[in-house]
Protein backbone atom coordinates (compact mmCIF):
# COMPACT_ATOMS: atom_id res chain seq x y z
CA UNK A 1 0.00 0.00 0.00
CA UNK A 2 1.21 3.49 -0.81
CA UNK A 3 0.42 6.51 1.32
CA UNK A 4 0.83 10.04 0.03
CA UNK A 5 0.48 13.19 2.08
CA UNK A 6 -1.32 16.03 0.39
CA UNK A 7 -2.18 19.50 1.60
CA UNK A 8 -5.74 19.05 2.83
CA UNK A 9 -6.08 22.87 2.99
CA UNK A 10 -5.20 23.22 -0.69
CA UNK A 11 -7.95 23.78 -3.24
CA UNK A 12 -6.90 20.75 -5.29
CA UNK A 13 -5.14 17.46 -4.54
CA UNK A 14 -1.62 18.08 -5.82
CA UNK A 15 0.73 15.15 -6.47
CA UNK A 16 4.11 14.62 -8.08
CA UNK A 17 4.12 12.14 -10.96
CA UNK A 18 7.22 10.64 -12.54
CA UNK A 19 7.04 10.14 -16.30
CA UNK A 20 9.55 7.74 -17.85
CA UNK A 21 11.37 8.71 -21.04
CA UNK A 22 10.80 6.82 -24.30
CA UNK A 23 14.15 5.02 -23.91
CA UNK A 24 13.39 4.16 -20.29
CA UNK A 25 16.60 5.71 -18.95
CA UNK A 26 15.35 8.79 -17.09
CA UNK A 27 12.29 10.58 -15.76
CA UNK A 28 10.72 13.98 -15.36
CA UNK A 29 8.74 14.57 -12.17
CA UNK A 30 5.84 16.98 -12.57
CA UNK A 31 3.12 18.56 -10.46
CA UNK A 32 -0.31 17.21 -11.37
CA UNK A 33 -3.76 17.14 -9.85
CA UNK A 34 -5.65 14.00 -8.97
CA UNK A 35 -8.80 14.20 -11.08
CA UNK A 36 -11.48 11.53 -10.83
CA UNK A 37 -13.45 13.55 -13.39
CA UNK A 38 -10.87 12.90 -16.11
CA UNK A 39 -11.02 9.63 -18.03
CA UNK A 40 -7.42 9.96 -19.13
CA UNK A 41 -4.19 11.38 -17.77
CA UNK A 42 -3.18 14.67 -19.42
CA UNK A 43 0.33 16.06 -19.90
CA UNK A 44 1.75 18.89 -22.06
CA UNK A 45 3.00 17.99 -25.54
CA UNK A 46 6.34 19.77 -25.07
CA UNK A 47 7.16 17.73 -21.97
CA UNK A 48 6.32 14.50 -23.78
CA UNK A 49 8.52 15.62 -26.68
CA UNK A 50 11.39 16.35 -24.25
CA UNK A 51 10.98 12.80 -22.94
CA UNK A 52 11.54 11.46 -26.47
CA UNK A 53 7.93 10.82 -27.49
CA UNK A 54 6.46 12.22 -30.70
CA UNK A 55 3.13 13.90 -29.88
CA UNK A 56 2.96 15.27 -33.44
CA UNK A 57 3.16 11.86 -35.12
CA UNK A 58 0.30 11.64 -37.63
CA UNK A 59 -0.28 7.98 -36.77
CA UNK A 60 -1.28 8.68 -33.16
CA UNK A 61 -4.94 8.23 -32.24
CA UNK A 62 -6.72 11.53 -31.65
CA UNK A 63 -9.15 11.44 -28.76
CA UNK A 64 -12.25 13.62 -28.53
CA UNK A 65 -12.13 15.41 -25.17
CA UNK A 66 -15.33 16.73 -23.65
CA UNK A 67 -14.28 19.61 -21.40
CA UNK A 68 -16.12 22.23 -19.39
CA UNK A 69 -15.69 24.68 -22.24
CA UNK A 70 -16.44 22.48 -25.24
CA UNK A 71 -15.04 19.65 -27.32
CA UNK A 72 -11.38 19.43 -28.27
CA UNK A 73 -9.22 16.79 -29.94
CA UNK A 74 -5.87 15.67 -28.56
CA UNK A 75 -3.32 13.04 -29.63
CA UNK A 76 -2.83 10.12 -27.26
CA UNK A 77 0.73 8.92 -26.55
CA UNK A 78 1.46 5.71 -24.66
CA UNK A 79 4.25 6.43 -22.17
CA UNK A 80 6.57 3.72 -20.86
CA UNK A 81 5.42 4.25 -17.29
CA UNK A 82 4.02 6.67 -14.73
CA UNK A 83 5.01 6.51 -11.08
CA UNK A 84 2.98 8.00 -8.24
CA UNK A 85 3.31 7.24 -4.55
CA UNK A 86 6.09 4.80 -5.34
CA UNK A 87 3.72 2.73 -7.48
CA UNK A 88 4.61 2.33 -11.15
CA UNK A 89 2.15 1.53 -13.92
CA UNK A 90 3.57 0.69 -17.35
CA UNK A 91 2.24 1.56 -20.80
CA UNK A 92 -0.17 4.33 -19.84
CA UNK A 93 -2.09 6.38 -22.41
CA UNK A 94 -1.61 10.13 -21.98
CA UNK A 95 -3.47 12.88 -23.79
CA UNK A 96 -1.22 15.69 -25.05
CA UNK A 97 -2.86 18.89 -23.92
CA UNK A 98 -1.69 22.11 -22.24
CA UNK A 99 -3.62 23.19 -19.17
CA UNK A 100 -3.52 26.86 -18.10
CA UNK A 101 -0.35 27.61 -16.12
CA UNK A 102 -2.44 29.55 -13.58
CA UNK A 103 -3.56 26.24 -12.05
CA UNK A 104 0.05 25.62 -10.97
CA UNK A 105 0.20 22.17 -12.51
CA UNK A 106 1.50 20.45 -15.62
CA UNK A 107 -1.23 17.87 -15.94
CA UNK A 108 -4.02 15.71 -14.58
CA UNK A 109 -3.79 12.22 -13.15
CA UNK A 110 -6.89 10.59 -14.59
CA UNK A 111 -8.85 7.42 -14.12
CA UNK A 112 -6.85 5.38 -16.64
CA UNK A 113 -4.03 5.48 -14.04
CA UNK A 114 -6.20 5.44 -10.92
CA UNK A 115 -8.25 2.41 -12.03
CA UNK A 116 -5.20 0.26 -11.21
CA UNK A 117 -5.76 0.97 -7.51
CA UNK A 118 -8.29 0.94 -4.74
CA UNK A 119 -7.70 4.38 -3.32
CA UNK A 120 -9.10 6.54 -0.56
CA UNK A 121 -8.87 10.27 0.06
CA UNK A 122 -8.66 11.05 3.78
CA UNK A 123 -9.16 14.76 4.34
CA UNK A 124 -9.04 14.29 8.12
CA UNK A 125 -5.39 13.16 7.93
CA UNK A 126 -4.45 14.75 4.59
CA UNK A 127 -3.48 11.38 3.16
CA UNK A 128 -4.19 9.39 0.04
CA UNK A 129 -3.94 5.63 0.28
CA UNK A 130 -3.39 3.50 -2.80
CA UNK A 131 -3.65 -0.29 -2.88
CA UNK A 132 -2.60 -1.77 -6.20
CA UNK A 133 -5.18 -4.11 -7.69
CA UNK A 134 -3.43 -7.41 -8.53
Amino acid sequence: MATIEFGSNEKLIFLDVGVTSSDGSWRIYLPVVLDTGATTTILPADILAALGYDPGHPGLPRIRMITGSGIEYAPCVTVKSLIVGGEEIVNVGVLCHDLPAEAGIDGLLGLNFLKNFDFTVEYSSGRLRFIKIQ
Binding site: E10, L12, W26, Y29, A50, G86
Partner: protein, 74 residues
Protein backbone atom coordinates in the same frame (compact mmCIF):
# COMPACT_ATOMS: atom_id res chain seq x y z
CA UNK B 1 27.53 19.88 -9.90
CA UNK B 2 25.56 22.70 -8.28
CA UNK B 3 24.21 23.14 -4.78
CA UNK B 4 21.55 20.67 -3.64
CA UNK B 5 18.59 22.53 -2.16
CA UNK B 6 15.52 21.14 -0.41
CA UNK B 7 12.10 21.77 -1.91
CA UNK B 8 11.21 23.71 1.25
CA UNK B 9 14.13 26.11 0.64
CA UNK B 10 13.27 26.31 -3.06
CA UNK B 11 9.74 27.44 -2.13
CA UNK B 12 11.22 30.14 0.14
CA UNK B 13 13.80 31.37 -2.41
CA UNK B 14 11.68 31.39 -5.58
CA UNK B 15 8.19 32.52 -4.63
CA UNK B 16 5.41 32.17 -7.22
CA UNK B 17 7.75 30.68 -9.80
CA UNK B 18 8.24 27.54 -11.84
CA UNK B 19 11.53 25.86 -10.94
CA UNK B 20 13.50 23.29 -12.94
CA UNK B 21 15.50 20.87 -10.79
CA UNK B 22 18.24 18.56 -12.01
CA UNK B 23 18.94 15.20 -10.34
CA UNK B 24 15.97 15.55 -8.01
CA UNK B 25 15.78 13.68 -4.74
CA UNK B 26 12.57 11.69 -4.78
CA UNK B 27 10.97 10.22 -1.66
CA UNK B 28 9.49 6.73 -1.46
CA UNK B 29 6.09 8.30 -2.02
CA UNK B 30 7.35 9.98 -5.22
CA UNK B 31 7.53 13.44 -3.71
CA UNK B 32 10.16 15.87 -4.99
CA UNK B 33 12.31 16.56 -1.92
CA UNK B 34 14.96 18.78 -3.52
CA UNK B 35 17.82 18.87 -5.98
CA UNK B 36 19.95 21.23 -8.02
CA UNK B 37 18.07 24.31 -9.26
CA UNK B 38 19.13 24.96 -12.85
CA UNK B 39 16.45 27.43 -13.96
CA UNK B 40 13.47 29.33 -12.59
CA UNK B 41 10.88 31.58 -14.15
CA UNK B 42 7.41 33.03 -13.76
CA UNK B 43 6.72 31.59 -17.23
CA UNK B 44 6.01 27.85 -17.33
CA UNK B 45 6.74 27.77 -21.06
CA UNK B 46 10.32 28.90 -20.46
CA UNK B 47 10.83 25.98 -18.08
CA UNK B 48 9.50 23.53 -20.66
CA UNK B 49 11.82 24.95 -23.34
CA UNK B 50 14.84 24.42 -21.03
CA UNK B 51 14.17 20.71 -20.49
CA UNK B 52 16.38 19.55 -23.34
CA UNK B 53 19.34 21.63 -22.09
CA UNK B 54 20.02 19.16 -19.27
CA UNK B 55 20.54 15.40 -19.30
CA UNK B 56 19.23 12.99 -16.67
CA UNK B 57 16.36 13.01 -14.21
CA UNK B 58 14.61 16.34 -13.75
CA UNK B 59 11.71 17.75 -11.78
CA UNK B 60 9.46 20.76 -12.13
CA UNK B 61 8.11 22.48 -9.02
CA UNK B 62 5.62 25.32 -8.87
CA UNK B 63 6.06 27.41 -5.73
CA UNK B 64 2.88 29.48 -5.98
CA UNK B 65 -0.64 28.89 -4.76
CA UNK B 66 -4.02 29.29 -6.37
CA UNK B 67 -5.33 32.66 -5.15
CA UNK B 68 -8.12 32.59 -2.56
CA UNK B 69 -10.60 34.25 -4.88
CA UNK B 70 -10.02 31.81 -7.77
CA UNK B 71 -11.91 28.58 -8.37
CA UNK B 72 -10.68 25.82 -10.66
CA UNK B 73 -12.71 23.55 -12.93
CA UNK B 74 -10.49 21.20 -14.93
Amino acid sequence: MGEKVSTKKIRERYKDEWVLILNPEISLETKVEGGEVVFHSKDRGEIHRKLNDFKGNKAIVFTGKIPEDVGVLL
